[in-house]
Structures are given as C-alpha cells and as structure tokens.
C-alpha cells in the first residue's frame, strides 16, 4: 500500500464523518444544551458556595464560570466519545464499520482514523461551546483558542480509545445508561472539572488521590493550561501517555466478534 492510499482513506473517513455531522446537525446542537446548562445554571448557583482562590494558570480571582469552562469542554468530548464508541460497535455505525473493516489498509490505522474523525467533530462542538462561553463573559486570551486545539484533539483520541476499549470488552456496558453511570459520571465528578483538587484534598485525601489517578483530570488540566497559554508538562505528558497506551490496547484488542459488527450472532 502506498502513502497516498492512506491519505485518500484518511480523507474519505473524515469526509463521511462531517457529512453525517451535517445530516444530524440538530442532534449535535442539542448535545450542546447539557454543557450550557452547567455553565449558565449550575455555575451561577454554585458561584456563591464555592470561592476560588488564585491558582495557576489563572492570574487573578476568577468566577466559577471561568473555572468550569475547561472541564465542560472535557465533558463534551467525554460524552461524544462514549456515545461514538458505542455506536461503532452496537448500533448506528454498524454498517459503516462493516465497510470500514473491508478496507485492505491495516485495522489499527482504520480505527484510529475513525476515532480521530469522531474526535474532530467533538472538537468543533467544543469551539461552538467556547464561543457561547465567551458571549457570557468567559474570555481566555485570544491565542488560547489556538493553543488548546492539540490538547482537545489528544483528549478526544484518548477518550475515544477508552470508549472503544470499553465497548468491545465490557458486555455489561453495552447501553448508554450503563456507560453514563459507570464511566462518564465517575470520570467527570472524580476530576478537577468542577472543583480544584486542593478542595477535594481538604474534604477527603483518598478521593483526592482517586482524582489524581483519573486521566480525565489531567486532560482537563491540559485543556485549562493551554487555553490560558500556560505550559503544563505533567498534564500534557500524562494525557499523551494514556492516549498512546489506550490507543494501542483498543486497536490491538479490537475483535469484531465481540461486537454486533458481524451481524446477528453467527450460528
């Protein structure tokens, strides 16, 4: 296979994902309601309760809205990745997955490209969310919007790979409700998305350590720091490392017979 074949394949998978996105734009728009509710309603309610001291990367006192925007960016990607991974192996995307797997190109390449394509669509949603956040007064530095892009892509690949791994191997989590209760909510709440971890440490040291071991925490911090043009090698390093490991496991461990891609269970 030649390099140009890979490029055509990459483009084809991306194009299809954007076409689907356009077809289902109302569904994607409604997916923005969730983070916006958090930003506008939840954050307003909690502003009074939670005082935020000056912590890096912020230079001054910040509003609670400002604090949770990076976490909500992570939440958009988290929801999309899990939903996307489930649809790849259980429902909407089954047909396109069958076609995908008939390609002569190596399977890991196909799967990573597919995860990236879904990730790019998530990233576009994050930008729409950031735009709305800007309208309600959360204004990171202008170049931060560009600096955050690689981190967002990395996060979407990390969570996409995690979703694929879970969807392939954990039969009990084949519906979205299960994934929401056992993956999305624990990952989201046991992270720095909604509260700085020093507060968690005050409340309960062992919970603090769980949060520290949660890769989502580091993804959110990587997003937070890059959005404010600060370099956080630990967060970026952990996110990148976890992304590589999960991608390897998810692609090498992918078995169509553990999914519904084969069709009705062959006799």
């Amino acid at each position: 296979m030649k390099a140009i074949d890979y490029w055509h394949c990459f483009l084809g998978i991306q194009t299809r994902e954007w076409l689907r996105f356009w077809q289902q734009r109302t569904r994607f728009a409604s997916a923005l309601v969730r983070p916006l509710l958090w930003l506008v309603v939840f954050a307003a309610g909690f502003r009074a309760v939670l005082g935020i001291s000056i912590i890096p990367p912020y230079q001054t006192y910040i509003t609670y809205e400002t604090y949770i925007v990076p976490g909500l960016c992570g939440m958009i990607i988290l929801f999309n990745s899990m939903q996307g991974a489930l649809s790849m192996v259980y429902d909407r995307e089954l047909g396109s997955m069958r076609v995908l797997l008939m390609s002569p190109l190596p399977r890991p390449f196909l799967l990573i490209t597919k995860l990236l394509a879904m990730g790019f669509v998530s990233v576009a949603q994050v930008y729409v969310f950031l735009l709305i956040s800007w309208l309600v007064g959360v204004e990171p530095p202008r170049w931060g919007y560009l600096a955050v892009l690689p981190t967002l892509i990395l996060t979407s690949l990390m969570l996409g790979a995690l979703g694929l791994l879970i969807a392939t191997w954990i039969k009990q989590l084949e519906n979205f409700a299960g994934v929401m209760n056992f993956v999305i909510f624990p990952m989201f709440f046991m992270s720095s998305a909604l509260y700085p971890l020093w507060r968690m440490n005050e409340a309960s040291p062992w919970l603090y350590w769980i949060c520290q071991f949660n890769p989502f925490t580091h993804a959110v911090e990587a997003i937070r720091f890059s959005l404010y043009l600060e370099w956080n090698p630990l967060a970026v390093g952990i996110t990148a490392g976890v992304t590589i490991v999960l991608s390897l496991f998810a692609t090498a461990g992918f078995r169509p017979q553990r999914t519904k891609i084969l069709g009705s269970k062959p006799a």
């Binding site: 140009i4 084809g12 047909g95 069958r98 076609v99 009705s264 062959p266």
Partner: protein, 240 residues
C-alpha cells in the same frame, strides 16, 4: 484467479461451528453456498471477510494467503453483507465515495468508477438521492455496485435477498449472474432458499458446519439419486 479454502475449522468456545471445510471456487462462475439457518454460512463469510480471525486452515486468493497477506487478499474481495451497510441519510454517490476512499482511490477515480458502475446498474439518475429514498432492491444494487468499485475478482454475497419481495429477489439474482458472465467475476452467493439456485450452478451444501456436497447441481443430484436440488438438499440436511 483461483480461490481456495483449505481445511477451515472454527469454534466459538466449545462449540465447533465449522469442521474441516475445504473447497475451491471456479473462476468466473456462480457458486451457491446452500445451507439451512445455523449451518455455519455466516461464520464462513466472517472468516472469508476477515471479520473473524482464522483459527485453523487458510484461504488462498490467487495464491495469496488471507492469513499471511491479508491486505493483498482483501483487495480481491468484494462483499455484500446480509444486513444493510449503507448510510441511509447520505446519497448513493457519497456512500460509494466512502468505500472507494477506504480502498485508497482518489476522489476523481472514485467518481469515475462510481458513475460507471451506477450507469451499468441503471442507477445513475439516483446518484444524488439519499439511500433512504431507494427501495430495497435498489439499495441492494447500490451495495453490489459499491462492492465492485475496487474491481475485485471474488464477490461474496451473504443472503443478499433477505427482506426483498419475490420479484426483486429474482431480479437481483439474475443481475448477479449477468455480472458473472460479463465480468468473469467469481461469485459466492450464500442462501437458504433453494429457488435461488440453478442446476447448472456450482453448489456447496453446508450443514452443521460440514461441507456435504460440492459440485454442479446436476452432478450432486445424480450422486444423491435425487430428481432435483430441493430433493437433494432435503436428503442431505433434512431441511427444505
């Protein structure tokens, strides 16, 4: 191109689903893979399309091993799945382009080949319609056109007429036979419907994971001392 399955066995856990299945397909012929539900047809297709990993045995396509050179082998195979594998909301052409890209074709090439296939299948005027607007028979045709875009030598169809009415079923069957004659395409058509098979076809009968018969319809009938294929099928499998 020669296509040969050698000594294929497959098990799900303790359950053996295919037992030492070997056969060779004749280039440019229509082959019917006949078997009652649960005979192992879908598993065999899963293995031929690499959705399932071979446990024992190998498949050789023009001498290339599916086990050792999967990419080379996959280039030569076109597949039509039992379940719809089209994006209903995308247009016919968009669906074809997606497949073409997966085989490394440029957009320009994809368009040229896609239009050629659609014209041949008398679907060019529907190219920009969403697949959802097409009837079942036409959707299946689009799937066949798509499977041929990368110019394979072997076309696999897994019960392609499921869900179609009698007239569409017959039309589709005839359509694929024409492709065999015109393109010299080798076809393996899995079905449990005896009426989709003709006596001059090459017939493989699969039952409980074993290949019970392999030859032209007439020869198999003679071997079994049966009047027709339906009787042969019944004698061998107790079904039909």
């Amino acid at each position: 191109m020669t296509i040969e399955a050698r000594d294929i066995s497959f098990r799900y856990g303790d359950k053996a689903v295919l037992k030492e299945v070997s056969f060779a397909l004749t280039s440019g012929r229509f082959h019917a893979l006949l078997g009652p539900n649960g005979a192992g047809k879908s598993t065999l297709f899963g293995l031929l399309t690499r959705l399932l990993a071979l446990q024992q045995g190998d498949v050789l396509l023009g001498g290339r091993s599916l086990r050792k050179q999967p990419a080379e082998a996959m280039r030569k195979i076109g597949v039509v799945f039992q379940q719809n594998a089209l994006d209903l909301d995308l247009s016919v052409r968009q669906n074809l382009h997606y497949h073409a890209a997966l085989h490394g074709l440029s957009r320009k090439e994809a368009r040229a080949r896609g239009d050629r296939e659609l014209a041949r299948f008398k679907l060019l005027d529907r190219a920009d319609d969403a697949v959802r607007q097409l009837n079942g028979g036409h959707r299946r045709r689009v799937e066949i056109a798509r499977a041929l875009l990368h110019q394979p030598s072997l076309l696999l169809l897994d019960e392609p007429t499921v869900g179609l009415d009698v007239a569409s079923r017959r039309a589709l069957n005839e359509h694929v036979r024409t492709l065999c004659e015109e393109d010299g395409l080798t076809v393996l058509w899995a079905t449990h419907l005896i009426e989709e098979v003709q006596e001059q076809d090459k017939v493989l009968i699969l039952h409980q994971g074993r290949l019970l018969a392999n030859g032209t319809g007439q020869v198999i009938c003679e071997e079994q001392g049966a009047q027709n294929l339906a009787e042969t099928f019944h004698k061998l499998t107790g079904a039909g």
